[in-house]
Amino acid sequence: MAIGETIRNSQIWKSIFRHPMPLDRRNRIVVMLTNFFLHLHPVSIKKQGIALSFTWCMGGVTFFLFLVETVTGVLLMFYYRPTLEWAYNDILALRDVTSLGILRELHRWGAHAMVITTWLHMYRVFLTGSYKPPREFNWVVGVILLLLTLLLSFTGYLLPWDQLAIWAITVGSNMARATPILGYEGPGQQLLTIGGIDLITDGSDARFGLLGARFVGEETLNRFYVLHCIAIPLAVALLLAIHFWRVRKDGGISGPL
């Protein structure tokens, strides 16, 4: 293994990894403290906290799926154009002509999987009572992450611009029309009038705000594209940082006192 030795003794390697291979106890501790990615973790941890039967690794799998979605999503963005003219055709081409069109499959099934693993993670956190003090707030952060995960999935559903997409979004967003007070067909919307003029119309209600139009159209496609590719992922990234930070600050993975 002379080549390996040479590489590991080179100045370049040593400038990246400031310590020998993590083969003994000392260096296994040092690697956790000096590596940017690993320092998310503590150095040592209770055995039950990493048992697969305890956490199911579900939070970790959810996070990994989020990373997969980010990478495949960025690659898809190089290809896909969110306009009425191109959206459907770009997806069609991904299926029929583009090499690596499988990225779309990875992205779509990864999204479904992430919804499922988020539910399972929450289920595990509930079943181990891990939302109890001092982890109440991290559970709240988790609930917001759950909501954002669903919204990510929902906004992405529209982008292929096929029948499945626009009708699912139409059915889903029709709900907003019924928002109490703020929805055009919602209870109490009649209350918001000034001098006999309705403030809540189909051109100003909650659904219009969501769709950017009176029905699912090009404005909606643009709006959902921006939400899906930029706004929601940024929010998720921020909340994930808080979520992981809090896991550490709340005393690591829960366990019996």
Partner: protein
């Protein structure tokens, strides 16, 4: 429609692989059990694995005479029996039985038997063209996965809870406490994570290669598909639209779910069961959560996805989704029941040219029965419960927390209550004020 030759050719390969996979799975189980000297079980599963190989080769024949399927009599029976009522009651009873006899069901050999029964039933059903058409829709496949994953993880959790509960009853600490020596994160955790990542990537690649993502016709705002469905994770909410108007099913209830979940850690004052699996130590919160999660979310999603066809009509699992199925809807509102059917009078109605106030008065009078019932439910019930069943809770939680908890629970129960009222009395709305688009 009956299984045609074409259809069987399409699924034969899949079913062959499916049964072969079951054979391998059970073969491995038999081997492991043999090594552990549990010979009777080992032989049982080895024989079962052999039977699965036979099914696999029968399936590969792709001929209607041989592909293993449920007898058509059984399928029609299931179709004619199933409906929203039986489905909901059936799943409730099933979950209840699983919960009450959990000590029995968590035994590995019992759980393994159940898994095999589920898989065989699934395989037999897949040979039905109508069943396969719905289940094999690419976007529905994840829900099939969800069902099996939920069953598996519920087993994993319940098994540990049963052990812990027994230990706690004997005065011993839970297993998680026994295992609390410290280990280094590198290598123990880092390697587990790496293996998980490789496993998930492999699984996702496999899925992506074998199941193409759906792409239907280009969007058209004039061709409305029937049924029009939201994405699968919202189908529980869409199913609630059968019982409530969109403002409640689509806006208020989901907001309450989010709010209720966030409030949970602040409402559950029980200090026990923190950081380990246990059921006995936190039975109340456990049952409330499981009821909400399984009954009001998961089973409704399954119902909305697999059993609701054109016009949101109910279809049995092996039924053809014809758009021409007619369901008689003769639902009545409570004011109609009360004033017209019970008291035999016309609905109270403001006289022509009445002022706004008098109009409102007449609306309130018309809706009085529903408003009184609702008022009693939401206003009288909380204090009543506080001095009876929830006396202990009230004392420990204080007024505000208690009121938040009880209100959330009562609102959650509006869904099953409304379902039952619909099934028993054909009730549509308790309160119906179209003047303000307010129907409940």
């Amino acid at each position: 429609m009956h299984s045609s030759g074409f259809f069987l050719k399409d699924v034969a390969g899949f079913l062959g692989g499916y049964y072969a996979f079951m054979a391998v799975m059970n073969g491995v189980a038999a081997l492991l059990l043999w090594q552990k000297k549990r010979n009777v079980w080992a032989v049982t599963w080895a024989v079962f694995a052999g039977a699965m190989m036979v099914l696999a080769s029968l399936a590969l024949s792709a001929s209607p005479a041989f592909v293993p399927a449920l007898p058509s009599g059984a399928r029609s029976l299931v179709n004619s029996l199933s409906g929203p009522v039986l489905y909901t009651l059936g799943t409730t009873v099933l979950l209840g039985v699983l919960f009450v006899f959990r000590k029995f069901f968590v035994q590995p050999m019992v759980a393994w038997t159940i898994l095999n029964v589920m898989l065989v039933l699934m395989g037999l059903s897949m040979a039905d063209e109508n069943f396969a058409a719905i289940v094999m829709k690419p976007d529905n496949v994840p829900i099939v996965g969800l069902v099996f994953l939920l069953a598996f993880f519920t087993w994993v959790a319940t098994k540990q809870a049963v052990v812990n509960d027994e230990r706690i009853a004997q005065g011993l600490p839970p297993m998680e406490k026994v295992n609390d020596e410290k280990v280094l994160v590198w290598p123990d955790l880092v390697y587990t994570e790496l293996i998980c990542m490789v496993g998930v990537s492999a699984f996702l690649l496999f899925w992506a290669i074998f199941l193409p993502a759906p792409l239907e016709e280009p969007a058209s705002s004039v061709k409305t598909p029937n049924p029009s469905k939201a994405p699968w994770y919202f189908l529980g909410l869409q199913e609630m639209l059968v019982y409530f108007d969109p403002w409640y099913a689509g806006v208020v209830l989901p907001s309450l779910v989010v709010f209720g979940l966030m409030a949970m850690p602040y409402l559950d004052f029980n200090k026990k069961g923190n950081g380990y699996y246990s059921i006995e130590e936190r039975k109340f919160s456990y049952l409330v959560y499981q009821f909400g999660f399984f009954e009001l979310w998961i089973t409704l999603i399954i119902l909305g996805t697999f059993l609701r066809g054109p016009n949101w009509n109910f279809f049995g699992p092996f039924e053809y989704w014809t758009p021409y199925k007619v369901e008689v809807l003769n639902n009545v509102d409570l004011p109609q029941m009360f004033w017209v059917n019970l008291l035999d009078r016309p609905l109270p109605r403001a006289p022509q040219g009445a002022g706004v106030l008098s109009q409102i008065g007449f609306v309130l009078l018309r809706e009085a029965p529903g408003l009184v019932l609702l008022g009693a439910y939401l206003v009288l019930l909380p204090p009543l419960l506080a001095v009876t069943v929830f006396r202990g809770f009230f004392a420990k939680m204080g007024f505000v927390r208690y009121m938040v908890m009880v209100s959330l629970m009562l609102l959650m129960l509006t869904l099953p209550i409304k379902m039952i009222l619909r099934w028993t009395f054909n009730l549509r709305y308790l309160v119906s004020i179209p003047e303000f688009s307010l129907n409940f």
